[in-house]
């Protein structure tokens, strides 16, 4: 199982007190990973619940977005010399068991960054609106990439040491997903995808992007690419 690599699991979280304990329990059932929750300015006691379970928490005093939380995870890995980082959503959407697929792909394809794709192979029940947003984001992101990716917005990712050293995310919001792929390509990193399963619950759908956030995310993404 996934313990073959010394992986640190990073869970960016914002007001996930309702579900974070279950997510951590699910991960523990899969393997003995180091788990670090990046609490992005939660006000609902997310950090206290994680600490009570004996896991580590880095607390952003202010809510700055998923991208900022991920970059904090990358900074931590550099500081403490963690060789592999896996990012997973903390809303319970991902299956920790699928991490094995990411590891296998990283090893088989000698990849530096592996993205868990909801649209590659597996028949996931994804809400139509979410599917539409993801398609639009894929078209936008792929137009700046040399390769084609089926899921540019997935938060389930595995990075090796080369990727950890090379990636400096500037996008604070969800557009970090696209930015990470573009930066990885520019840094000549090998990017691969592997199928993952997802479960959309009312809770996880309520936590995701809506039309307004999606538009703003696209605007920020384009702005930083053009006017950087």
């Amino acid at each position: 199982m996934p313990e073959r690599l010394p992986i640190t699991l990073i869970l960016p979280a914002f007001n996930e007190a309702r579900i974070i304990e279950q997510v951590i329990r699910d991960i523990r059932q899969v393997g003995n990973f180091r788990i670090v929750v990046i609490d992005d300015g939660s006000t609902d006691g997310t950090a206290a619940k994680v600490l009570a379970m004996g896991e580590q928490v880095v607390r952003h005093p202010l809510n700055r977005g998923a991208g900022a939380a991920c970059q904090t995870g990358i900074s931590l890995a550099r500081k403490y010399g963690w060789p592999y980082l896996a990012f997973m959503d903390s809303d319970g959407q991902h299956f920790p068991e699928d991490l094995e697929g990411l590891i296998t792909t990283m090893q088989a394809q000698q990849a530096d960054l592996v993205i868990g794709s909801r649209f590659a192979g597996t028949q996931n029940q994804i809400p139509y609106l979410r599917r539409f947003f993801n398609t639009a984001a894929n078209i936008l992101t792929n137009s700046f990439c040399t390769h084609h990716y089926t899921d540019t917005q997935s938060g389930f990712r595995l990075l090796n040491q080369r990727a950890i050293a090379a990636l400096d995310l500037l996008q604070d919001d969800f557009s970090y997903c696209s930015e990470m792929i573009i930066l990885a390509e520019r840094a000549k990193l090998k990017v691969a995808e592997t199928p993952i399963r997802v479960r959309y619950t009312d809770y996880s759908v309520s936590k995701g992007q809506d039309f307004q956030v999606g538009l703003l995310t696209a605007f920020h993404f384009l702005w930083k690419l053009i006017f950087k």
Partner: protein, 117 residues
């Protein structure tokens, strides 16, 4: 030529601002580019006040507007968009700085919590 009130006041105000920007440049608070941009902007404002009809007619002819009123209106809109762009850039830079501060603070606190007491 009849001289109207604003044709005296606006150039004087522009002169005042230009002198102020010149002083700020000498004190090192502005770089050359900023000082030149500011100077040109205030010279433009002063000239528009002194020769309002001539300049607005020239702009209208240059861009193909039917009347000089439209030209002034669109010129004003263009300038407003430009300032909006500058304000947004400033906001982006400040957001970035806040994020960096936020992250650094979080990492420092985490490190302290990890250190054996």
């Amino acid at each position: 030529m009849e001289i109207r009130f604003f044709q005296v006041v606006v150039p004087l105000v522009a002169l005042l601002f230009m002198a102020n920007q010149g002083l700020r440049y000498r004190r090192g608070r502005l770089n050359l580019g900023e000082a030149l941009f500011s100077g040109l902007l205030w010279i433009g404002v002063a000239l528009l006040a002194v020769f309002p009809d001539e300049i607005s007619n020239f702009v209208a002819a240059l861009f193909g507007f039917k009347s000089n009123t439209n030209a002034v209106l669109f010129l004003g809109l263009g300038i407003l968009f430009y300032f909006q762009y500058r304000i947004y850039r400033l906001q982006v830079a400040q957001r970035r700085a806040i994020t960096e501060l936020n992250r650094q603070l979080a990492l420092d606190r985490f490190e302290k919590a990890q250190a054996p007491s």
